[in-house]
């Protein structure tokens, strides 16, 4: 019985932590939460602390430290527990983990959401057509392989002529 109470309390704390994490936004794409981006891998709360397991998007992403600080603040606020952050590299983060709601929000913010990530090593320059987040046209072209952040490339729509960011499939 006591054990059930404890685990029920732990579950409630973890649920509170998840809710709080759902409000931590990516500092470089402040329209999607880190939960929607798929970088929160696990939350486990005990009597003294909550352990949040994060996985980095890109190894060199400068937002990583900011995200960790915000996670610490949000979870400690919601659970009143000390917060420890663990980093899980494997399995490696993929844009396939971005939730449907996150994809919708990216598109609404003018960032074309990623297509399906390729798994096999390949240098073949075959890419699926990227839909323009402004007018919906598939007549788009890549301007540059890298965009405003490590996770994006620059595209241009040949119909509405607007440039836009594409969240690279990764």
């Amino acid at each position: 019985m006591a054990h059930d109470d404890r685990s029920a309390a732990a579950d409630a704390l973890a649920a509170a932590a998840w809710t709080a994490l759902g409000e931590v936004l990516d500092p470089e794409i402040p329209v999607v939460s880190i939960v929607e981006l798929g970088i929160v891998r696990d939350v486990a709360c005990g009597r003294d602390e909550c352990v949040v397991t994060l996985t980095p998007t890109y190894s060199g992403c400068p937002a990583t430290r900011v995200i960790e600080a915000e996670v610490r603040a949000a979870v400690s606020n919601a659970t009143d527990r000390a917060v420890r952050i663990e980093t899980a590299l494997a399995p490696a983060w993929s844009t396939d983990w971005i939730a449907p709601e996150g994809r919708r929000k990216l598109a609404a913010a003018g960032i074309a959401p990623p297509g399906e990530a390729r798994t096999a090593a390949s240098t073949v320059a075959l890419r699926e057509a990227i839909r323009c987040p402004h007018c919906g046209s598939l007549a788009t072209e890549e301007l540059a392989r890298f965009g405003s952040t490590a996770c994006k490339a620059q595209y241009r729509c040949r119909d509405c002529r607007e440039p836009f960011d594409y969240f690279k499939a990764h």
């Binding site: 980095p56 399995p91 990530a117 392989r145």
Partner: protein, 221 residues
């Protein structure tokens, strides 16, 4: 040019991030901190490939250096991703997805400049010619590494030579470039960066990278 400036910075950020993951693991084993590895070693204590310390030069030099390295790096990481050491395998699998993108970009630039104007073609050919000699040591395995390879921990550099050559020849052909003749560094006993013996360029790079923490050892950032 702005786009390529951003691309170079982003590739650099990926590689810095990956270096931190490797150094963090090394410091768990060795006891020295990440910063000690980066800022307080002398050039002869660095074991990087000579290729990657060569000067930026013109843009063909920069991209040729990047491509020859990326093509090796992507093959190396694919091997390390199957290491028996799960930390190594995890870091390699993570880095692999980034480096696949790097090699796509740099190989396209070798083709664009090689199969471009007379001037860009001549510069890319000169860049490949000048850097070719430094690619030999990518595939040299020493006794210490051999033991790790046999234990299923490290990747066998020698086994990367054939797939690297196949890929590089394909890109050079598409770029209308000529494969340079091998020189002394392609010899099986070619010694260089992997033994801590460097070109003069590494010291200059390190001077710039290390000056702040060496001048202000307690600086925090």
């Amino acid at each position: 040019m702005l786009e390529e400036d951003i691309a170079s910075a982003n590739v650099g950020l990926d590689l810095l991030g990956q270096a931190r993951l490797w150094f963090a693991y090394a410091s768990e084993i060795d006891g020295r901190s990440e910063d000690r590895f980066a800022y307080f070693r002398e050039s002869h204590e660095f074991y990087n490939l000579l290729l990657v310390e060569q000067p930026n030069g013109n843009y063909a030099d920069t991209l040729a250096r990047q491509y020859l390295f990326d093509q090796w790096h992507v093959l190396l990481l694919a091997e390390l991703a199957t290491s028996r050491d799960t930390r190594i395998a995890g870091i390699a699998a993570k880095a692999q997805t980034e480096v696949r993108y790097h090699v796509e970009r740099s190989s396209r630039w070798v083709v664009r400049l090689g199969d471009g104007t007379d001037v860009s073609h001549a510069r890319m050919q000169a860049a490949i010619d000048a850097l070719w000699t430094y690619t030999g040591e990518m595939f040299v395995v020493d006794a210490g590494e051999r033991a790790l390879i046999e234990a299923g921990v490290a990747a066998d550099g020698e086994s990367l030579r054939a797939p690297w050559l196949v890929a590089v020849r394909q890109v050079l052909a598409e770029a209308t470039l000529v494969e340079p003749a091998d020189s002394w560094m392609q010899a099986a006993n070619g010694r260089g960066g992997r033994q801590g013996v460097h070109t003069e360029h590494l010291s200059r790079l390190l001077a710039e990278m290390q000056v702040l923490p060496r001048t202000h050892p307690d600086a925090r950032w």
